[in-house]
């Protein structure tokens, strides 16, 4: 059953509308991948769900965000604040900058459980150390008193994860949690996140641009392009039979282990900026298969037997 | 041309408009003082000394019966030319020193940084007074003293800019093309470093006007009968009860000018989005 249902979400910043008609749902015990290149609106979606659009001067213009039966788009800030960190937690993109550099790590984790669970200082500390140990952080007792700069990037990201888990949330939004990390560390953090969802039955919204990570970790995938949903389906289906030309191209952009030389093509053109969204299907200028209608008419996200797609070709193979 | 268009753009913001209007007025006064001033600034009329503002003398007369408004208009010329010349010299010298220190680094940088940091910690007024004691009084000395008093600021700022820019990829890329130091410094570093320095220079011009006035208050600076706002206030303190306007109007002229400079500078900083690059000062 869906914990989070986003329907027709539109977001405006000033007088531009970077997000337009985003719909998806996230379920408990499932990792939903939100995939897209820069400017696709992944992080904005996360901020909208967290109710933090105001921080960057944005606002929800259309649609609804239903979390556990509660409409978030009309929720007042004090109520939202009690939700944030408690029921919806964030694992941010850059662990290097997400921790307050002058506050001890332990205190930063403790803060969440003290704030939302009303724990005493020692109780919060015990809980934090327990969480750190669960995340396989060595020597958790000592590190509880350490400062962020004393830790490696991988460790910091584990601390950020511990912070997210501190109040036992139901939904975690992980915004590119491994982009800033080295390859070997990235693999381990992804593994930890996958294990968490499996063990705790959480709903996880994994935002990434890396199709490898998607293939490795996600159960279902939403592909975003230029502020709209292009395609949504199970991971298996997306990779086996992508229905949107963009999805197919995106997968083809990554060299597979046996990719023959000279066959990596990429997608011509550039991802449009929010000020230069083309009319019609926003992918059409880069789409090799675009037909006339794509230039003028916005394709509607259509639910098919399995998954949905916003394309006039509707998955007809090339 | 695009710079002019840019300035025009800044001048159309609410803050920019008010401050730009005041600045233009002050600059016009400075440029066309002899035509704008209703009277000769030096003509004395001792029997008519210390008259309060009236229809003939909008700002009253000073202790020699000279028209105060004419003197304030001419004073704009003195104050602005001293401040602008001094800051101009300071900016050019500071940029040279700062660029060299930031670009070449090493022992030269260390020495420059140490001296600059130390002098920066001393109040400008003390540095200026110290220098005037060494090089003597007079307009040129005041200009040099003010220029040196602010040198540290521009050296620091330029050095910080150059240090930051030096690690920009395009600088490395240019070196990789086989560019010499001169090309890197004059074609890439300075053009990119100059904006914050110019803006800081503009803001410092406001401070320099105050410094010039303070030196004038101590009896240093423009030689009589040349009017300067600071010297006018200095002699005005003695008349504070008989003729308070003698000290009030020049003070107000300074306050209005300096506030306008600050507001316009602020508007520029916001428009150029260089607040972070000015942080060091």
């Amino acid at each position: 059953m869906a914990l989070l249902t986003v329907t027709g979400l539109g977001v405006a910043i000033g007088n531009v509308t970077p997000l337009d008609g985003i719909s998806f749902e996230a379920r408990k015990g499932e990792i939903l991948g939100l995939v897209g290149e820069s400017g696709s609106g992944k992080s904005l979606t996360a901020l909208a769900v967290m109710g933090l659009l105001g921080r960057i001067g944005g606002r929800v213009t259309t649609g609804s965000i239903l979390f556990d039966g509660q409409e978030l788009t009309i929720l007042a800030e004090p109520a939202f604040r009690r939700l944030r960190g408690k029921r919806i937690a964030l694992i941010s993109q850059n662990p290097m900058t997400s921790l307050d550099p002058i506050v001890r790590i332990g205190a930063q984790i403790d803060q969440v459980s003290r704030l939302h669970l009303g724990l005493s200082k020692p109780a919060a500390k015990a809980r934090s150390i327990d969480l750190m140990q669960q995340l396989r952080i060595p020597d958790a007792e000592t590190l509880h008193g350490a400062y962020p700069h004393q830790l490696s990037g991988g460790m910091k990201q584990r601390i950020v994860i511990a912070m997210a888990l501190a109040a036992d949330p139901d939904l975690i939004i992980a915004d590119e949690p491994t982009t800033a990390l080295d390859v070997t560390i990235q693999a381990q953090i992804i593994q930890i996140i996958v294990d968490l969802v499996r063990d705790r039955g959480l709903a996880l919204l994994l935002i990434t641009h890396d199709m490898g990570v998607v293939a490795q970790a996600c159960d279902r995938v939403v592909v975003l392009y230029a502020g709209r949903v292009a395609e949504m389906n199970t991971t298996q289906a997306i990779f086996a039979a992508p229905r949107h030309p963009y999805t197919a191209s995106l997968i083809a952009c990554i060299p597979a282990h046996d990719q023959p030389e000279g066959t990596l093509l990429g997608i011509p053109g550039t991802v449009p900026g929010v000020l230069n969204y083309p009319p019609g299907c926003r992918f059409h200028p880069r789409c090799a298969r675009a037909i006339d209608v794509c230039h003028a008419e916005v394709p509607v996200l259509q639910t098919l037997t399995a998954g949905s797609v916003a394309c006039y070709l509707q998955g007809v193979p090339a | 041309m695009s710079a002019l268009r840019f300035l025009w753009g800044v001048a159309r913001t609410p803050r920019g408009a008010v401050s730009a209007a005041v600045l233009v007025l002050v600059i016009l006064c400075a440029l066309f003082a002899p035509w704008l001033a209703p009277y000769d600034y030096a003509i004395q009329n001792l029997p008519g000394a210390n008259t309060s503002p009236n229809a003939a003398h909008w700002m009253g007369t000073d202790e020699f019966g000279r028209d105060l408004m004419s003197r304030i208009i001419h004073g704009a010329r003195t104050s602005l030319s001293v401040a602008i010349t001094a800051i101009g010299i300071s900016v050019v010298a500071g940029m040279t020193l700062g660029a060299m220190a930031g670009y070449f680094g090493g022992i030269f940088d260390r020495v420059v940084t140490a001296v600059v940091d130390l002098t920066w910690s001393f109040p400008e007024i003390l540095i200026a007074l110290l220098l005037i004691a060494i090089i003597g009084t007079g307009t040129e000395s005041i200009i040099i003293a003010i220029a040196i008093a602010y040198l540290a600021q521009f050296t620091r700022l330029t050095r910080a800019q150059v240090m930051a820019l030096r690690s920009e990829t395009y600088v490395e890329a240019t070196v990789n093309l086989g560019a010499g130091h001169a090309h890197v410094i004059f074609r890439h570093l300075l053009p990119n470093a100059i904006t914050p320095v110019i803006v800081a220079g503009m803001l410092a011009t406001g401070d320099a006007i105050i410094l010039e006035a303070t030196l004038g208050f101590f009896g240093l600076g423009a030689q009589p009968p040349t009017p300067s706002w600071g010297a006018m206030m200095s002699s005005g303190t003695a008349q504070i009860f008989i003729a308070p306007w003698i000290i009030l109007f020049p003070g107000a002229a300074i306050a209005v000018t300096v506030i306008a400079i600050n507001l316009f500078g602020d508007a520029l900083i916001d428009a150029l989005d260089i607040r972070n690059r000015l942080r060091e000062v």
Binding site: - | A42, Q44, L46, P47, A49, E63, F64, G136, T137, G138, F218, G219, L220, Q223, P224, P225, S234, S235, T237, A238, Q239, I240, F241, I242
Partner: protein, 525 residues
């Protein structure tokens, strides 16, 4: 570092006592502001000090005091006599006087004291004294090298306050700074240079002179002298009751203060004189006609009327009006005469152009006019600049600080005109400023003239009696005037002001200025 730390600590304690003392105002406490020109006097050592403030006259008594009419009245000396030839002086000393430190004052004190002047800047005061002889405990005899009719006048100056020999020798270089011990009506309690001096009453005092009603201890128990450089600040302090008396009132504030209820402003004849020295060695002023023209271009009445509201007097000689030597022949007085000035310039070959500026052989008549920092100087100078311009002389003003001005003079090269003032009440100021032995500074006019030197030396060392001295100095003064080596400008008055609710100040000041004799009589309400 230890010594330094201790000094710092002491300083901190000192200043915190200041902070405290403000809260505990005691009756009979009086605060006064020193005259502006006395600000910054570094020491209370009368022998070595060159700049002393009025508080010095309260710490030290002098042998005698001089009244406004130039008559002398004994203080530490009760009577004195001089031989006909002026070569021997005998002084009887006041009995029963002791210093603040308990040391007795007697003939031995004088015998110790006079030789102390040798080698100091004040040596000229006692230069004529060959030896001091103790006749008895309270009688001394001076044997002179040459007659010095000016001796009594010297002995009445602040520089000849008598310090305690014991304290003086014990404190060495620190004397006058860390302490000062005299026989005067007040003892020095604390002294912060440039800031303030606190004096407390000498309750054992009995040496009041004939110039005071009160011969015993002062009425004021505790007297603070503050040094405030800024005139307006000083005035505001008086107005708001922060101080009780200003010992000098700047001309600018006189009318304002007179209008102020609760303030009394008293004006008395001045001792100061503003003048414009002319460097006789630099063209065009090497030509006496040009010098005369410049001197005649100065419009003294205009300055008196407009800058000073008619208070004070024009100066038309080099000496203040009170001095007998200033009574010169009327035709020698230098007074404003623009037509004559222009005629002289024409004669000298400086031709006026249509706009009034003059030039000679293509050289424009542009001269340097120096002045020193300070509102009053700048103001007079600006007016003089305009007055010179009126006869066709373009003067460019340079404002210098007093130290620089003297440095520049010592270079003896460039200077031409300046606006200066002196404050002194003896004709030997002529010797100071015009002696050929002191070119550069103080002989700013750079004047050497055989006739003048002869007259000067005669006046300085060739007079046996006071009257003879007056005659000789008048002759010298008259010659100086004929050479136009300066232009006289203005003689200010002295003013002092006090709050009527706090103080009662004697109406008649028995001296040329407010000094110890007046302070003894000031009453606290």
């Amino acid at each position: 570092m230890k010594i330094f730390a201790r000094r710092l600590l002491a300083g901190a304690l000192l200043s915190s006592t200041f902070l405290m003392s403000g809260f505990a105002a005691v009756a009979q406490d009086v605060t006064m502001v020193l005259p502006a020109r006395e600000v910054g006097a570094p020491t209370y050592d009368p022998i070595r000090g060159t700049k002393l403030n009025v508080a010095t006259t309260l710490i030290y008594d002098r042998m005698m005091l001089q009244d406004a009419d130039q008559s002398f009245h004994g203080q530490l000396a009760t009577e004195w006599s001089v031989t006909e030839d002026g070569m021997e002086w005998v002084f009887k000393l006041r009995p029963g006087v002791s210093f603040h430190d308990g040391e007795p004052f007697n003939a031995a004190t004088i015998a110790w004291w006079i030789p102390k002047f040798a080698g100091t800047e004040n040596a000229f005061m006692t230069e004529a004294i060959a030896s001091v002889e103790i006749i008895d405990d309270l009688t001394v005899k001076f044997t002179m090298k040459n007659p010095d009719p000016n001796l009594l006048s010297n002995m009445a100056t602040t520089f000849m306050g008598v310090p305690s020999p014991k304290a003086y020798d014990a404190m060495g270089d620190g004397y006058g700074v860390t302490g000062a011990v005299g026989t005067g009506p007040f003892k020095l309690e604390s002294f912060t240079v440039g800031q303030e001096t606190v004096l407390v009453r000498n309750d054992a005092y009995t040496s009041g002179s004939a110039l005071s009603e009160n011969k015993g201890p002062a009425h004021i128990a505790r007297l603070t002298f503050r040094e405030i450089a800024d005139d307006s600040t000083a005035f505001l302090e008086l107005k708001t009751g922060g101080v009780d008396m200003l010992l000098s009132v700047p001309a600018d504030f006189r009318t304002t203060m007179e209008a102020e209820a609760g303030l009394t402003v008293v004006t008395m004849p001045g001792r100061e004189l503003f003048y414009m020295p002319i460097n006789t060695t630099v063209a065009p002023f090497d030509d006496i006609k040009v010098r005369q023209a410049a001197a005649l271009a100065v419009n003294q009445p205009e300055i008196l009327a407009n800058l000073y509201g008619g208070i004070g007097a024009v100066a038309d000689t080099f000496l203040t009006a009170a001095l007998l030597e200033g009574k010169v022949k009327d035709e020698l007085r230098i007074s404003y005469d623009p037509d004559r000035a222009k005629a002289l310039l024409d004669e000298a070959g400086w031709v006026a152009a249509a706009d009034g500026t003059r030039s000679k052989d293509g050289t424009p008549m542009t001269v340097k006019l120096w002045t020193q920092n300070g509102t009053e100087f700048r103001r007079i100078t600006e007016v003089i600049q305009a007055q010179l311009a009126a006869v066709g002389i373009t003067a460019e003003i340079t404002v210098l600080d007093p130290a620089s001005i003297n440095d520049e003079y010592k270079k003896m090269t460039e200077h031409q005109l300046a606006v200066r003032s002196y404050s002194y009440e003896n004709a030997d100021i002529l010797d100071w400023f015009f002696s050929a032995e002191r070119l550069g500074y103080p002989n700013v006019s750079m004047w050497t003239d055989a006739v003048a030197e002869e007259l000067r030396i005669k006046a300085m060392t060739g007079s046996r009696t006071w009257d003879e001295r007056v005659v000789n100095f008048t002759a010298y003064h008259e010659y100086v005037l004929t050479q136009f080596v300066f232009a006289p400008i203005y003689q200010p008055v002295q003013s002092y002001a006090f709050t009527t609710d706090a103080l009662m100040v004697p109406e008649v000041i028995r001296s040329t200025r407010v000094q110890s004799q007046t302070f003894l009589d000031i009453m606290v309400k």
